[in-house]
């Protein structure tokens, strides 16, 4: 496979889907380059599965086109598209054994002598000795591997994965994440992966598109999304963020100075996605693990040039590798702080006066016109709901 080969590109141009008056996917432009591992991340109902199904041909778009490489496949039925899907909870044929499940696609395309290929494929997913079993005789993890094998054996230009690990328990999920990543690297096929699990998306994908209410909120490498979210939704949905309402005091060169709760905060202007007219509102964000916590008595020892917020510890939970603090301050209530369990300061108990401080380079600024709570997970997203 050469670098100029683009037959595995997936190009969505202005693709949209409406059901009656409900818009599942707003017109969307997206290019997934050949050979990449691409994740569509979002809560259930955000349109990610609909987008995937439009690529697969299982759903006809209301508008826009789907291209695979240079080929327009928008109107092609699924059985004519060089695309295969690993379905949510697998959809293995219960009346066929593992071998026949894997051979299904080859047989449909009239390929003779499938035995060698199927055996090789089953070996790749380490299920060689289970060839003659029925799907219900296998464990969840094994069924998942059959589903992957059944799709991959057809050498699709793009492999679509719809919540492929949703039905597995946590430990197995971690293991399969690495396994899928390994397979993707080995076969070099474009993977498009739909998930509501942000850790899963970040672990596996090269590029993640965060979707919300039928739109892509932000697209980028996992680390970029995490470090520099552009919307409150992304900031809250990907991990946890402390968002503080602040007012622009002065903007000069590459630094913006903001006022919040009586103190001043510095924000690199390159990390601010909001208008910065003096007196305007900005949401200042910082991740809980970027913050250091110092007892008020030692405030003098904090190096200069760091953003500071004073407050009082409201709650502390010790979880082994770290301690998670909740701090109330004039700048904002219920700020989250994660402190690595290196040297525990025994004075840091609920009620203690503390100073939160962090490197200004870890601060990001968001448009204050947004819902500050967007993307905050209230309940575990339900699995099995078609998104």
């Amino acid at each position: 496979m050469t670098t100029t080969d683009n037959s595995g590109d997936v190009r969505l141009s202005g693709i949209s889907k409406t059901y009656g008056s409900f818009t599942a996917v707003h017109p969307l432009d997206l290019t997934v380059p050949q050979g990449s591992f691409f994740a569509l991340l979002g809560a259930s109902g955000c349109g990610k599965t609909t987008t995937l199904r439009m690529i697969a041909g299982l759903e006809e778009p209301t508008g826009g086109t789907v291209h695979l490489g240079d080929q327009d496949v928008t109107r092609l039925p699924p059985y004519k598209r060089p695309v295969n899907t690993v379905f949510q909870s697998y959809a293995l044929f219960p009346h066929l054994d593992i071998f026949e499940n894997v051979a299904f696609g080859l047989r449909r395309r009239g390929i003779k002598g499938v035995k060698k290929q199927v055996d090789e494929m089953l070996d790749l997913v380490q299920l060689g000795e289970h060839a003659r079993k029925k799907p219900h005789q296998l464990s969840g993890g094994q069924q998942q591997r059959v589903a992957v094998a059944r799709a991959l054996i057809n050498h699709p230009r793009v492999l679509l994965l719809d919540e492929p690990l949703g039905a597995l328990d946590l430990k197995l999920r971690r293991q399969m994440q690495l396994e899928l990543k390994r397979i993707q690297t080995e076969v070099g096929i474009t993977f498009v992966h739909v998930t509501h699990d942000q850790e899963e998306a970040m672990t596996m994908a090269d590029t993640v598109a965060v979707m919300n209410a039928g739109r892509v909120e932000q697209l980028g490498a996992p680390a970029d999304l995490y470090e520099n979210p552009r919307t409150t939704f992304v900031a809250n949905f990907l991990g946890t963020s402390n968002l503080i309402e602040a007012e622009v005091d002065a903007a000069s060169g590459d630094e913006i100075v903001l006022r919040a709760g009586g103190g001043k905060l510095s924000l690199p202007s390159g990390r601010c996605g909001a208008p910065t007219a003096t007196g305007g509102k900005v949401l200042v964000g910082v991740r809980p693990e970027k913050i250091s916590l110092t007892h008020a008595g030692d405030a003098g020892a904090i190096p200069a040039g760091r953003n500071r917020v004073t407050g009082r510890i409201a709650d502390a939970s010790f979880i082994g590798v770290s301690t998670q603090y909740v701090v109330d301050s004039p700048a904002g209530t219920a700020l989250q702080v994660y402190v690595q369990n290196v040297d525990r300061d025994t004075r840091l108990v609920p009620g203690a006066e503390v100073v939160l401080h962090w490197n200004p380079a870890h601060t990001f600024g968001l448009d204050a016109a947004q819902d500050i709570q967007a993307g905050v997970e209230k309940v575990e997203p339900q699995e099995g709901v078609v998104a």
Partner: protein, 309 residues
Amino acid sequence: MAAVTEAPPPLAPPAPEKKPPRRRGRWMPYLLLLPGLLWLIVFFALPMVYQASTSVQTGSLEEGYEVTWHFATYWDALSEYWPQFLRSVLYAGAATVLCLLLGYPLAYLIAFRAGRWKHLIMILVIAPFFTSFLIRTLAWKTILADGGPVVGALNALHVLDVTSWLGMTSGDRVLATPLAVVCGLTYNFLPFMILPLYTSLERIDGRLHEAAGDLYARPFTTFRKVTFPLSMPGVVSGTLLTFIPAAGDYVNADLLGSTDTRMIGNVIQSQFLRILDYPTAAALSFILMFAILIMVTLYIRRSGTEDLV
């Protein structure tokens, strides 16, 4: 009836059938079973014994009957009435095939394509049960009347030429021919085909169809390789529920047929209720029962090993 039109219960997650929990009070299950089972033993099983005994009795109504182990009755009955037996199997078989051909599309329609009309269609399939089937069967006399529009259309389409070549009709008539009887049987037992088919189709996970399409199966191939095999339990129980009652039926042959279309049910009925030759009637009834049990067993075994796996 509302419950009938509901989706059938999903496959039970744990199978309590295999290991019901042990409960205190060991007499409890027997107490629950006793009245119903007693009823079945006295009024279903015991009558079979009586019938078996009657079939080997000789005598007459006036002098009374006596068990003489006269097995010749079976031989006599079979040699005299084999055409009616054969006819029963042929008519019931034809009706079963027709029911499957007619019933499958409708069951498929209800299960996958009817959308919000699903419940209404389901009700329309079941509701005719409440109009006595005899009245509905009599209506076929009107529908298939000589010179009527249906017969006219069949004639114009040369369907009657084909059926009369098959010996199902003669001339321009449909009424009082085997075709009318098969048509009536098909009509009467069609819901018994549709309901189990629908139940098993409904249980098929819709994503399996999508998966097949995704794996290069065209719609018809998807049907042949995925949908139909997965609906086999419904096909098997539907064909049984159609064939068994059709083979023993005498109402359609009586109302829509002629003396040339008499089925074994008609013979049993007239032996029992008119001629009052009880041993012959009992023997015929036993032969019918065994014939059906053997056919059903073979059929289940065949479909069990070849199609269900």
